[in-house]
Amino acid sequence: MPLVDPVTMSSSIAKGAAAQAVQSSPITKGNESQQQQQHPIQLRQTPLAQSARHALPALIAAVFLIRFDSLVNKPDPAPTMKTSLPVVAALQLAYAMICLPVAGSAGSQNAKASSSRKPRLGEKKSKSGGGGGGDGPNGYVAAVLSLVLTTFVTPFLYIVMILFGAPFLTHGAHTFLCAAHLAVLVFFPLFYAHGVDSAAWAAVGSFRAPFDETFGGLVGGVVGGWLGAVPIPLDWDREWQKWPVTVLCGIYGGYFLGRILGGTVLFGKRF
């Protein structure tokens, strides 16, 4: 057929969209080229950071294990989840501020500038010490903002859990707390390290980011939570089968595994 017709959806939309893209945000365009070169997040090299890197996850795990008994054996797991949430949040906050480079700092910066700025990394770090912030952006501000973002993301995670089949009319607090734990554990460090950098988030969201502790934690937490739903239907009538204990266990287990693997053997690798 020699006759070619221009009216197809893909072509017309492609045109419009292309125009849109050009119009709306040249920044996006720039970011897209960056996206290919997204770099893994290097933890701070300070001795404090290096020891906190191992100590804090161990602490969170300890908190989880200590609370596990009351989580399972109390008739209602919600209060336990509620009381342990601030503890976990505090530990994650400490982890972020001690170990992670704050969003916009050299450690979390990528490609474009990293080669030129790398030599300076050491100097700056020694200057700022273990205090909190990084170079440039203030660590405390970033931490507060990340907490706010984490709060915002929780309702969305809650909706996602509902969509996966979590109870809609009942167990609202349980599901919401489970979403909050997921947010604090997995999303908080990402917010701290990436801020609202859309390119970085696009890479993370499409699972194209390189593995590091934060991204590994995300993959692990999400996959763990997904697998955590598997034992729910079994008719074993165990206490630990009640909603959302298994999912919570999956999130924590997956998060630790993902974080450890992401920080070590998988570091820098991509899907």
Binding site: M1, P2, L3, V4, D5, P6, V7, T8, M9, S10, S11, I13, A14, G16, A17, A18, Q20, A21, S24, T28, E32, V160, I162, L163, F164, G165, F168, A202, G205, S206, F207, R208, W226, A229, P233, L234, D235, F271
Partner: protein, 1075 residues
């Protein structure tokens, strides 16, 4: 009213698309002529050349069309072969798995009691004759047996609540309480399957029904084993039957023709004809007691009320009240020599259905009455009928020895039941010798039967193990002889003898229940082997050549070059030819592999004269798949292809395999609907995240939008639930008005109206972006389809008005008549007119010719880019309209959501370039299964919505009624299989080549999901054949999977492949053949 006409699929009249083709050709010629003028060529010469080209082109098109038709036929032949393999595999497994029991021909006879010596009772007058009582002194001359179908035990006892099915039938309870010596009421436990035919077999032979009886259920074969009616008939007694005609099928020629009257059994719509007929005919007979010896009356109203409305409905109260009056009146007419027995043959579940083995389904009621004081209680606390069916239940088979001994006939040979205590305990409740005599006689009969059974099987009964029935027998015998020797001793010694024989009976029954049936492992294994080979072949078929995307040629230049080459007679690439003719090769190989063995089997059966000509089918299927696999291997198909290469491929594998593994667990089988929702959400979120990678911003957002929509709709549909008993208490049914009803709630009636308003516009919204809302689409989708939906909505409103009697002034049956004709019109519109329109329809395109500048013309074809998909969409919409009507309001809403989800799915696949991945067909299959649950079904027999047969019909009519029930039951899967071609055809322009190969692969992947599930459920059911939950969970799931596989096999060929052919023909006629 004639049933809907068969759907015409062939021989369409001169299609409408010819006009579009002419339009297109004219427009094209105008452009060519204009081009020619521009080139300053001699017009004359140009015209000559173009006419020559036209002729060449026509010849080429004709050749391509013929080749397409031939390849299509071979492709269909391949899928027919696959269907055959599935049928053979399922049939072999089923024949070995569905339990069979040896039928013994022995009959009990009056003069040969099973007892040997040690008589407990002194000789009575007429011993050994029917007149005096063959094996036990006779109590009654005649019996009236009233079967009230589905009379659950709690319907008959006082219950402290307001349920409509409680406290409406107090007569039997009151009588039993008031005069315990004249009557007793006890729970009456049915052995599953709780279908009437199996129950009647159990109630007359005293044996346990086996699953193979379900197979014969539809044929309704006569009982050939020894049974109560046979014993009575052989003793010259006269039997009269009124009511359910199942009895006629089981006992042909047994009944006194002039007094008996039978009625259609399955007309569940009709609550009153059977009962009124029974009541009308039974009372005259009560004045002619010397003309009959056994009177059987089988009422169906309660059962039908349950099926139609569920127990919690005013009609159930009315029905039970009617039964109360009936039994009250009947009891008055009973004389001293007659016993009246009223019983339910099974119960009903919370929605009024039955068939399975849940507690509510097996717990029926039994009431016996005589004006003579014959019934007693061995303990005073037994005088009050049990408060629940868990207390002092009687097995239904116990009726057989009880009635036989009461009437003085021999206990049927195969009986496993024991006499009911009340009937032999004497009015004072102390006749232990009588009880012991009755019990030992029945036990001796069981012992004799077991011995014959083991002998017939060629197995020696072991009597060494402790706690074996033989051990119990020895103990009872010993006790009997010691008690016997000191005859003058205390009378209550007989109580011990009685309980010793009762122990033996119970132990034997338990053994029989657990170990009775003989699975035919050989046939089961062969069935599994055939299915496995079939699945493996299917997988190799769908993965072959997945890499060389044969449909990718979308380049007009290349096509033009190829075409001109072909016109010059140059053959296309040999490899392409062989790839296209693969189906032919495979079918040839399949026949080559199958025929010798199958022919051998036929020949052998002919020579040996056994008549089982099909005996070679299993091995023929195996050799057939083997030769096909070898052929596939020869065409460079390797096992490596089976391993997925992308994350999407893995996702398809994980969804299919994890579910199949999960079928090994009853929990995962029970919660399948939630698991499917989980998969749907997983896929939707995965594609939403994947869409972030799309370079184009608009594509990205649209794709994310459709992904989220896909998940949201799935979650929305998940609110339509019909819980199975095992899901309790974690599940709330929403499909009907309440958990104890099978009618829709008033608010649910609004759902079809919402769908009528919204769905056509939604579909339009999916067609408009590709400019495909052209041609027939606006008229068909906007008006005809919408009208069909409106009429379906109106149907359900009428139905509710009829059920609820909203217009009491109307003459009877007005609404029912109206709604049936309305339903017939809808089905005619959707299936007959719809198919005709689909065959006829031009592509959904619009051709515009506009003069652009002076002397130049521009031809624009709106909707060209989605020409294939938009036109094909009309077919699934017709199927949807039919299923929408048949699925009840809630189910119709679910199916509408499913259609929406399918459209989103094809968009998602298109955006993310997943069209050729396995995940598309697998997700479609998941959707189909998901909406099977959302249309008010579960993988249990009792959720089959039999009443749907009466939506377009007044009575049962073959073959229409089963077809209607199938469309209701498998609506989700049928809609899914009808939309399989959309996966391949959506957003595909007429230039796309190799669509047949792509479609065949997509259909194969779709089928593979169901085939793997059928294989998995089959293997697990076979492996767990001694599992407690076999008949509750695993067996019904296997039967569902098997039925679904055959349905998608069949409908895939009839709808998907045939529809795609029509579509390709129409597109090819208009835009030229590219295949």
């Amino acid at each position: 009213m004639p049933p809907p006409q068969p759907v015409p699929t062939k021989a369409p009249p001169a299609p409408d698309y010819k006009t579009v083709a002419a339009q297109f050709a004219t427009a094209k010629r105008a452009k060519e002529v204009e081009d020619a003028t521009k080139a300053h060529e001699d017009i004359q010469q140009e015209q000559e050349r173009s006419s020559l080209q036209d002729r060449q082109r026509e010849a080429l098109e004709a050749r391509r069309k013929a080749s397409y038709e031939k390849r299509w036929l071979w492709n269909v032949a391949f899928w027919v072969w696959m269907l055959t393999i599935h049928v053979v595999g399922l049939a072999y497994f089923t024949s070995g798995f569905l339990l069979t029991r040896l039928m013994l021909d022995e009959k009990s006879s009056c003069d040969a009691p099973p007892t040997t010596g040690n008589e407990i009772l002194p000789a009575w007058k007429g011993k050994g004759t029917v007149d005096g009582g063959c094996w036990h002194p006779k109590t009654f001359e005649r019996a009236v047996v009233v079967v009230i179908d589905a009379l659950r035990y709690d319907f008959t006892i006082p219950v402290d609540d307001d349920a409509k099915f409680h406290n409406a039938f107090p007569f039997m309870y009151d009588t039993a309480l008031r005069s315990p010596n004249n009557s007793f009421l006890r729970p009456f436990i049915a052995d599953p399957p709780t279908a009437t035919l199996q129950r009647l077999k159990g109630l007359t032979t005293g044996t346990l029904p086996t699953f193979v009886d379900v197979g014969t259920s539809f044929a309704g074969t006569a009982i050939e084993e020894d049974n109560l009616l046979m014993q009575l008939r052989d003793a010259g007694k006269r039997i009269v039957h009124l009511g359910d005609d199942t009895w006629d099928a089981l006992f042909p020629g047994y009944f006194e023709a002039d007094m008996s009257k039978s009625y259609d059994s399955f007309n569940v719509w009709d609550l009153h004809t059977v009962d009124n007929g029974v009541i009308e005919h039974i009372f005259p007979l009560m004045n002619r007691k010397n003309d009959w010896d056994l009177l059987i009356a089988h009422c169906l109203g309660v059962d039908h009320a349950g099926h139609r409305y569920g127990p919690d409905h005013g009609n159930m109260t009315a029905k039970l009240a009617q039964m109360d009056t009936f039994i009250r009146d009947l009891a008055v007419t009973i004389d001293d020599k007659t016993v009246l027995i009223v019983m339910g043959d099974h119960g009903m579940d919370s929605k009024g259905d039955h068939g399975g083995e849940s507690d509510d389904e097996v717990e029926a009621a039994l009431w016996m009455y005589s004006p003579n004081s014959v019934f007693g209680r061995t303990k005073s606390e037994f005088a009050t009928p049990p408060a629940t069916a868990k207390i002092r239940p009687v097995n239904q088979i116990d009726l057989v020895p009880t009635l036989a001994l009461l009437l003085g006939i021999p206990i049927p040979y195969n009986n496993l039941g024991r006499p009911i205590e009340e009937a032999f305990a004497g009015a004072a409740g102390t006749a232990w010798d009588n009880l012991a005599a009755a019990e030992s006689t029945a036990a001796a009969g069981i012992k004799r039967y077991q011995a014959s059974y083991f002998a017939a099987q060629g197995i020696k009964e072991s009597n060494t193990t402790p706690d074996s029935p033989a051990e119990f027998w020895a103990k009872a015998e010993e006790l009997l002889s010691t008690t016997h020797s000191k005859r003058g001793g205390a009378k209550d010694k007989w109580a011990a003898v009685y309980s010793a024989f009762a122990d033996y009976q119970q132990e034997t029954l338990a053994r029989c229940k657990s170990l009775w049936a003989q699975f035919d492992i050989k046939n089961m294994a062969l069935g599994i082997a055939v299915m496995t080979a079939g699945v493996f072949t299917l997988l190799v078929y769908v993965t072959k050549g997945a890499e060389d995307d044969s449909g990718a040629v979308d380049d007009p230049e290349l096509d033009l070059a190829e075409k001109s080459l072909e016109m010059q007679g140059v053959k296309a690439d040999a490899e392409i030819i062989s790839a296209r003719n693969m189906d032919k090769t495979f079918v040839g190989a399949a026949l080559l592999g199958a025929l010798p063995i199958f022919g051998g089997g036929v020949l052998q059966s002919f020579i040996s004269g056994v008549g089982d000509w099909y005996r070679g089918a299993g091995f023929a299927a195996l050799t057939s798949t083997a030769t096909v696999l070898v052929t596939m291997y020869e065409s460079k198909e390797t096992l490596v292809n089976l391993i997925p290469k992308t994350v999407w491929g893995w996702m398809a594998v994980v969804f299919t395999v994890s579910q199949s593994v999960g079928f090994a667990s009853n929990s995962y089988t029970i919660w399948e609907d939630s698991i499917l929702l989980f998969f749907i959400a997983t896929f939707g979120f995965a594609t939403a995240l994947a869409a972030i990678r799309l370079p184009n911003l608009a594509d990205r957002y649209l794709s994310i939008y459709h992904s989220i929509l896909f998940v949201l709709l799935g979650r929305l549909a998940s609110f339509s639930k019909l819980c199975r008993e095992e899901q309790m208490p974690y599940c709330r049914s929403t499909y009907y008005a309440s958990a104890t009803s099978s009618t829709s709630a008033p608010w649910q009636l609004a759902i079809p109206f919402v769908v009528f308003l919204v769905l056509p516009s939604i579909i339009k919204a999916y067609l408009v972006p590709s400019r495909s809302y052209e041609g027939l689409a606006p008229a068909w989708i906007g008006y005809v389809f919408r009208t069909g939906l409106f009429m379906a909505a109106a149907y359900w409103a009428l139905d509710a008005a009829d059920n609820g009697n909203w217009f009491p002034g109307l003459p009877a049956n007005t609404l029912k008549t109206l709604s049936v004709y309305l339903a017939q019109t809808i089905l005619g519109l959707a299936l007959v007119a719809g198919t005709t329109a689909f065959v006829w329809a031009p592509p959904c395109v619009s051709i515009l010719t506009a003069a652009r500048q002076l002397g130049t013309a521009q031809v624009t074809v709106l909707g060209y880019g989605n020409a294939h998909g938009a036109r094909y969409l009309l077919l699934p919409l017709n199927i949807l309209a039919a299923c929408f009507l048949l699925s009840k309001p809630m189910g119709g809403g679910a199916l509408a959501i499913m259609m929406w989800q399918v459209l989103s799915l094809v968009e998602i696949l298109d955006f993310n370039s997943l069209t050729f991945e396995a995940i598309g067909p697998v997700m479609l299959a998941v959707l189909g299964n998901f909406h099977f649950f959302k249309t008010g079904h579960q993988a249990v027999l009792s959720t089959i919505q039999w009443d749907s047969a009466f939506i377009p019909l007044f009575t049962i009519r073959y073959p229409w009624s089963p077809i209607v029930v199938a469309l209701n039951t498998f609506g989700g899967q049928i809609l899914a299989v009808a939309t399989v071609p959309l996966l391949v055809l959506w957003k595909v322009s007429p230039q796309r080549k190799g669509l047949l190969v792509l479609l065949s692969r997509a259909y194969g992947l779709f089928l593979a999901y169901f085939a793997v599930e059928a294989l998995a459920t089959m293997a697990w059911a076979g492996h767990l054949r001694r599992h407690l939950m076999l008949y509750r969970v695993f067996c019904p799931r296997f039967m569902t999977a098997a039925a679904v596989l055959l349905v998608v096999d069949l409908f895939g060929i009839v709808i998907a492949l045939a529809g795609a052919r029509c579509n390709t023909m129409a597109i090819g006629e208009v835009f030229g053949w590219v295949e």
